[in-house]
């Protein structure tokens, strides 16, 4: 066995990367990948696999990388995960497979994420994309059976790919002009290059999946229309896209963008390349992002990369430990010089005579005694109000169910938060032939959870369609 320490991926220097939108981690080179993979002790009971929401045979693919059989490694990964280049980059491995790796005891779990990324990138550069043999599934009249999918996020993409491989005609309807969901409009280029998402989408097209952008299910076509148009089943994967605001005075001042608006202007519409691209975004010298989740870190780190921005703040009402963002994101944000205002709660946004935001009134907080759930809730410390000067404010407080589709379907059961009630094992909803999964049934979660839901739903849909 080579050395025992977990091998980290090399990253762009913080001082350089805040001036570009290129990917931050470089990824392993071959020697590094083999070295890290060789640290795996090939456990009899590979607990890492239990930690993976789609149960990739991690032990085996890591072994194959150590044996330099990269084509073999990627084949194993793709048995369970159709988007490895994406997942290798954005999965929270530290709370999934790596948290379950036996080597965690030594503080040095295998860097599974970086190895997954290595295998996927190797395939993109060198591999032969393996031809999949598809036998079309026909109905009694000899026509291929078609299935509709609403939403092209990771859930919808996975359903489409699985069903296409089984022989169905899968058609994705996407409201926006580009396929990918949060992968294209939410997650920034420097964490997930858009070329990678495009490659995955192009692969689906090769499998025969049809993607119809600009179509809103519930508006362009109702759910009833879909079945009248000849589709035999529908998967709903429309995400949890509705932004929340803080609900404090001044939030409708100019210069205040929801994280969704800011990220979409940047990632989907490329406002950072304005005026080459026509979509503008107005960002001042001082930016404050409210919240400390992944979305907040993304918004803060993009801001830091924009010309003319001098100061970027995170404002968060709890402490260091409670920040919900991935550890790596927080670390990257700190390295890039983002200023963290913890135990700080915004009370009000103040504007100038032209209606642009200029200041945030905040108050200091302290953590109280743990409540019944064990969480220490923050309390304001009276008399500690203060102001932060800002030109741009980005509330990043999580999202809610998008009701555009769900409230327009009679008989579709929703839970009290407006998410679709879907069987977590099959994606079945209260209506026959209609399946759902991803953020629209679980609330905002992860890429891999959405994919896992898509995979299960595709299987259940196949069973349903074979019976019909």
């Amino acid at each position: 066995m080579a050395k025992k320490e977990r091998l980290k991926v090399r990253t762009q220097e913080a001082s350089a990367r805040v001036k570009n939108f290129d990917e931050v981690p470089f990824g392993f080179n071959e020697a590094e990948a083999v070295e890290e993979a060789s640290r795996c002790i090939q456990c009899k009971k590979p607990t890492c696999i239990d930690g993976c929401p789609v149960n990739i045979n991690i032990k085996e693919f890591v072994r194959l990388i150590a044996a330099k059989d990269y084509q073999g490694a990627i084949r194993i990964i793709k048995e369970n995960n159709s988007l490895p280049a994406v997942c290798g980059r954005v999965c929270p491995q530290e709370t999934q497979c790596e948290e379950k790796c036996v080597m965690l005891k030594t503080g040095q779990p295998i860097n599974i994420g970086a190895l997954e990324r290595y295998a996927a990138d190797w395939e993109a550069a060198n591999g032969k994309i393996e031809e999949v043999k598809i036998t079309p599934k026909l109905d009694k009249t000899g026509k291929q059976i078609s299935v509709a999918i609403a939403g092209s996020g990771p859930a919808g993409l996975t359903v489409a790919s699985e069903l296409a491989k089984m022989g169905y005609k899968a058609v994705i309807f996407e409201a926006l002009h580009l396929a990918g969901g949060v992968l294209v409009y939410g997650i920034p280029e420097f964490r997930l290059p858009k070329a990678i998402v495009k490659r995955e989408v192009d692969y689906l097209k090769k499998l025969g999946v049809e993607i119809r952008t600009d179509v809103l299910i519930g508006k362009s076509y109702t759910v009833k229309d879909i079945f009248e148009m000849g589709y035999k089943a529908l998967f709903i994967g429309v995400g949890a896209g509705t932004p929340s605001f803080v609900n404090i005075p001044g939030e409708n001042l100019k210069g205040v963008y929801s994280a969704n608006e800011f990220l979409t202007r940047m990632n989907l519409l490329k406002a950072y390349l304005f005026p080459e691209y026509d979509t503008p975004v107005k960002i001042g010298k001082k930016v404050a992002v409210i919240g400390a989740g992944n979305v907040a870190m993304d918004a803060a780190r993009i801001s830091k990369r924009l010309k003319g921005v001098e100061e970027v703040h995170i404002i968060y009402r709890r402490s260091d430990k409670e920040m919900p963002a991935r550890h790596e994101e927080i670390e990257h944000a700190r390295e890039e010089g983002i200023i963290f205002n913890l135990l700080t709660n915004p009370l009000e946004l103040v504007g100038d005579e032209n209606g642009f935001v200029t200041k945030i009134k905040c108050i200091k907080m302290e953590l109280g005694e743990p409540d019944s759930s064990g969480r220490r809730s923050p309390k304001a410390i009276p008399g500690t109000e203060f102001f932060i000067d800002v030109n741009t404010v980005i509330p990043a407080l999580g999202t809610k169910a998008n009701e555009l589709l769900t409230t327009n379907v009679e008989g579709l059961k929703l839970n009290k938060w407006g998410y679709i009630e879907a069987d977590p094992e099959t994606g079945e909803t209260s209506l026959p032939g209609i399946y759902a999964g991803g953020d629209i049934s679980t609330g905002a979660a992860t890429v891999i959870a959405a994919m896992g839901a898509g995979k299960k739903a595709a299987k259940a849909m196949d069973t349903y369609l074979s019976r019909e």
Partner: protein, 278 residues
């Protein structure tokens, strides 16, 4: 890509376009709008659906060239294609028999009142349409509006056609002389909608306005189109665009429409576009 099947100049900076888009036409109704992108690197902009044809699957829009995106759209011709068009968006206009209805359109708001007037007339209402323009040369859709109204009144600021003055002057006249109005609808520049709403408030006439907030996705995903209605935050793309005119915070809307003033100028300059008539 969606094919442009028709292009017509209606006045010096206003154009009509027909675009093939079955998915927009299929469920289109009066009051819906589209969001389109002229070319790949372009911006998403909202435009009201003026008319549609279910036989040919063509949707018709009418737009005024006020900035980079509308100018670039105006440069495309019949046979060309646009990159993206999504719709029908927004809640459609709620049509029922109200009785006596006044429908007010100002400038490029007139195309938006056309399908609403038509639907209200078909539903048996007595529709009086009032169109306002700066001057005679800018008048559009006169014949079309006549065909969907029981009565059509026109106002021009300089008196070159119809009554001299503003649409509110005409509306005031109607209120003074005519039977009681059961509903008023107003679509046009914010300052016009605000004036109409202020006038009708005095007479307790229910008034619907169609708000033109800045929009991006049109699916309720960004909140950029938020407006304050009766003290509450609403997203105009999914909760509207029609709202009770007496509840709208028009000053906030006007302010928010100015968010990108400087960028809009820079963009025009960068694209070397000279707007007509400005």
């Amino acid at each position: 890509m969606y094919k442009i099947t028709l292009k017509k100049q209606l006045s010096k900076d206003i154009k009509l376009m027909g675009i093939e888009a079955e998915h927009v036409v299929k469920n289109a109704k009066a009051g819906n709008f589209v969001i389109l992108i002229p070319h790949e690197n372009g911006e998403r902009i909202p435009l009201t659906i003026y008319d549609w044809d279910k036989k040919t699957n063509v949707v018709y829009i009418i737009f005024q060239e006020v900035g980079v995106t509308t100018a670039k759209l105006g440069m495309l011709n019949e046979g060309d294609s646009i990159f993206s068009i999504a719709g029908p968006l927004g809640k459609h206009f709620h049509v029922e028999k109200f009785g006596n209805v006044a429908i007010v359109g100002g400038g490029v708001g007139v195309p938006a009142i056309f399908p609403i007037a038509r639907a209200l007339k078909e539903a048996g209402n007595n529709v009086t349409s009032i169109m306002g323009f700066r001057t005679k040369e800018l008048i559009i859709l006169e014949k079309e509006m006549e065909s969907v109204s029981n009565k059509l009144l026109t106002a021009t600021n300089d008196g070159s056609q119809g009554q001299k003055g503003l649409v509110t002057d005409v509306l005031q006249g109607m209120i003074n002389s005519g039977p009681k109005l059961d509903l008023c609808v107003a679509v046009g520049p914010v300052i016009m909608m605000k004036a109409v709403a202020e006038l009708t408030r005095n007479y307790n006439i229910k008034t619907i306005v169609s708000l033109n907030a800045l929009m991006m996705d049109g699916t309720g995903m960004c909140g950029g189109c938020r407006v304050t209605i009766g003290g509450k935050n609403k997203f105009s793309c999914v909760d509207g665009p029609d709202f009770d005119g007496h509840q709208v915070d028009f000053n906030e809307l006007t302010s928010r429409l100015g968010t990108f003033k400087e960028e809009e100028k820079a963009s025009l300059h960068h694209s070397k576009i000279q707007l007509v008539g400005r």
